[in-house]
Symmetry: C2
Subunit: 330 residues, 2 copies
């Protein structure tokens, strides 16, 4: 198959491009490179450098490349920034997605796989969180993802657009080999921050709250390895293309979590460079546990994550950061 991967030069996008090619598919990437990296793309992948907000260029790319399906990652993803600049987030994430949806139904009506997030659930007491849990996103970022989910569903009902929505929990790690990995303009992810701290780029690691009702008092999150997540996209594309699935929404996580302390301990063990840790108060809106109920994707798409050991996950991240201490810019 030929896939168009929108936002394919980003962290999860570039890993998905790699796994799609490993599965024998060809790939065209559509990316504005606002936060993605052309260097993250393997040779043989066509890059259309353009913006979803330019509706004509989306349509032109679909017509020029005639893909069999679209995988859509393109979005601004910072929770804090989304609260300070909501207009940018609504514009980029919602209007951009609307342009893509309209172009798809007007040109080829091919299946779409959409990159969503556990942030659509908001703070919840459900542990683990099933896909039908109430959705009350607490950030503009999460809201833009929920709006886009709703738009996709409406296009399915009105126009028969086949789709799979994947709601990611905490994405982590890097492809083994260390040549691609996480390189966001702003760093907010725990394992990335810990690796950069181990490299001496930051002074210490903050632990926000050690008085949560969890075994060691720190928050628990479900860390899904980026290569496993990329494989989930391959499964989704293939299920849609074969007609086995017409529409579905799936959590992507391991179904169990690790605490902040467990993660930092794993980083210490993998790097051999114990991190300085500082305890700080809880942050508003951080629930004690966010863990996926991941049964549906296992049962319906045959998802079978390979990276279930925390140290293995950390080892792949460390391999990337140590060999690319400044990401792709070195």
């Amino acid at each position: 198959m030929k896939l168009m991967v929108v936002g394919g030069a980003g962290y999860i996008g570039s890993h998905t491009v790699r796994q799609l090619r490993a599965a024998g598919h060809s790939v065209v990437v559509f990316d504005n490179l606002s936060s993605g990296h052309a260097q993250a793309l393997p040779e043989g992948v066509t890059l259309v450098q353009a913006d979803l907000l330019d509706a004509a260029s989306v349509k032109a790319a679909l017509e020029a490349h005639q893909p069999d399906a679209v995988v859509h990652f393109a979005a601004l993803i910072e929770v804090g920034e989304s609260m300070r600049a909501p207009g940018r987030y609504y514009r980029n994430n919602v209007v951009g997605s609307l342009n893509l949806l309209q172009s798809v139904v007007e040109t080829r009506k091919i299946p779409l796989v959409f990159s969503s997030t556990a942030a659509v659930y908001g703070t919840t007491d459900a542990v683990p969180i099933p896909e039908d849990a109430p959705m009350h996103p607490e950030s503009v970022y999460g809201e833009t993802k929920l709006m886009t989910e709703n738009m996709i569903h409406a296009f399915h009902v009105a126009h028969g657009l086949p789709y799979i929505i994947l709601r990611y929990f905490n994405v982590s790690g890097a492809a083994p080999g260390g040549d691609i990995g996480e390189a966001h303009p702003n760093k907010t992810h725990l394992i990335e921050l810990a690796c950069l701290t181990a490299l001496g780029q930051r002074e210490k690691m903050m632990i926000f709250g050690e008085d949560y009702p969890t075994p060691d008092g720190t928050c628990i999150r479900d860390y899904i390895h980026v290569q496993d997540l990329a494989d989930a996209h391959v499964l989704a594309v293939e299920a849609l293309a074969s007609g086995r699935q017409e529409a579905g929404t799936y959590n992507v996580g391991l179904g169990h979590g690790f605490s902040v302390r467990e993660v930092l301990d794993a980083v210490d063990a993998v790097t051999g460079r114990p991190l300085t840790r500082e305890i700080a108060p809880r942050r508003a809106g951080d629930p004690p546990r966010l863990v996926a109920d991941a049964h549906r994707i296992v049962q319906e798409l045959g998802f079978n994550p390979q990276f279930t050991d925390l140290k293995e996950i950390v080892r792949t991240a460390w391999e990337w950061h140590r060999s690319h201490p400044h990401g792709f810019d070195q």
Copy 2:
């Protein structure tokens, strides 16, 4: 004060323009006239004929006219059409509103009054429905209104935009005098349909379901007179401009409802032309009762609806339709 009324040439917009002027304010209308009517505007009102999807024209109008507040009605409003053409609805209602919001915060950061709907609640068992009821809109139309409410709230949090959101129940009637009234391209509202049927433009009135758990078996809805609703906008604008309110969301209804049979009986009595009625099965998604809990707007904004008698409401509608059997096009 000087108000910019976006969508001011439509049914509710034009009544609000009139009430704003009656309260001593001056008005500029911004309307693309896609479903509004320039004839619905009184002399002395400036009409900017332009589209919210043209962001530059919104900004230019705000800069040229320097209003003290904006009242935003512009939207596509047909539930059924919204399910068949979701892209048009997301584009017009959500992207259009986003353009307006961004223009407002970038130019003048003036208060905004937004036209929302009871459709944001979806089917609910709550009778009456309070403003904090769960929101699960069941149509794309309702969803676009909820999305816009959420965007407005985010702009308030991020940029201090003062706002009042008004959620309308069933809007009905016309300004006494019969010179402006309902003239939608497609007719879906019960009282309008009944008046046009009494005029012989339609054969009969359908009653969808007479086996609902209500006293006469037909659905009950909360009919708010359009002139009362217009006054609610005047109160909202004045509360924001005076600084008494910074942000609020209010149902606008009478707080009690009338059944389909009661409405048709009132039309028969007012017109003296008994309608042919036909019983049909229930329609999917029609709950037995939709009635506003209207206490909040009474208490906080001093709302005091004048049209509480069903026959009076129907009389004003009949006055308009009888004198304008083809709306503004005669």
